[in-house]
């Protein structure tokens, strides 16, 4: 499911279809998180990615109308070079990683109490407090920056003009 969605995301021609395929892939990833006993990340994946990021993608796809780009080429001219590069590095990484005997469990989390979310919050707000604050600052800057960039350019006299891609 994950891989099929991913392949369709890359291969489909219509951008809206790509977004739907990406939603399928993200849902499969969320199921994997559940299998890996990461319940909090499962919920985060559903809410943030499928609820938030994909909504943003779909809004942007519909904001910039992609109708005129449906007939033209969808891949760059040297696409075979890109595929060869990616497959080569991926094969090297697979050979290196998959057969390697990774060390076994080192921690003793089996005796820890509380659910996944509770223990995650304990770790997040004690040991990783400074990165947590840094990431909140980063999100704030990203919000302000994206609003600044997506805002219509104010014309000199008459205030703001609406965006060109918006079909009212």
């Amino acid at each position: 499911m994950v891989l099929a969605g991913a392949v369709l995301t890359v291969a489909l021609r219509n951008a809206v279809h790509c977004a739907v395929a990406l939603i399928v892939s993200l849902l499969g990833t969320a199921g994997l998180y559940l299998l890996l006993r990461a319940e909090f990340l499962f919920a985060t994946q559903i809410i943030l990615y499928i609820g938030g990021v994909m909504l943003l993608f779909l809004f942007v796809i519909m904001l910039i109308n992609l109708d005129e780009s449906r007939q033209e080429r969808h891949f760059i001219k040297g696409w075979w070079l890109g595929v060869a590069l990616a497959v080569g590095t991926g094969a090297i990484g697979l050979r290196w990683a998959v057969d390697k005997p990774w060390p076994g469990p080192a921690g003793d989390s089996s005796g820890a109490t509380g659910g996944n979310t509770e223990r995650l919050a304990d770790l997040l707000f004690s040991e990783y407090l400074v990165p947590f604050e840094a990431i909140s600052l980063l999100l704030l800057v990203a919000i302000v920056g994206s609003v600044l960039m997506a805002r219509p350019k104010p014309s000199p006299g008459t205030g703001e003009t609406p965006a060109k891609g918006v079909q009212a």
Partner: protein
């Protein structure tokens, strides 16, 4: 990939899946022309990283990997927001969303 067992799902399976997902995302980034789809492929790559982090978190019996996965998700959300903002500004100024038609930095 001879070490992969067929009956039980272990760390190697997750690593293989994550590597395949990352490969597909890389192919998408390198070959597509539409910037929206390129951003989606970047999301695929970040998801592959998250699967890796959480698989190792389960494997090692620690939660640090999941904390890092939360950070990766936050960075991915910020990246998507900024990228799409740039994309809207680009479309307004250039009228295109194809990556190879944007040559503002070419001299």
């Amino acid at each position: 990939m001879t070490g992969l067992s067929l009956t039980t799902i272990g760390l190697g399976h997750y690593l293989a899946l994550s590597a395949a997902l990352m490969l597909i995302g890389t192919v998408g980034v390198l070959t597509r022309r539409n910037v929206v789809v390129i951003l989606m492929s970047v999301e695929l790559i970040l998801n592959a990283v998250n699967i890796n982090l959480i698989a190792f978190s389960k494997h090692l019996g620690q939660l640090h990997g999941q904390v890092f996965a939360i950070f990766v998700i936050a960075v991915a959300v910020a990246e998507a927001a900024v990228g799409l903002g740039i994309l809207i500004a680009l479309y307004r100024n250039k009228g295109t969303v194809n990556a190879d038609e944007v040559d503002l930095l070419k001299w």
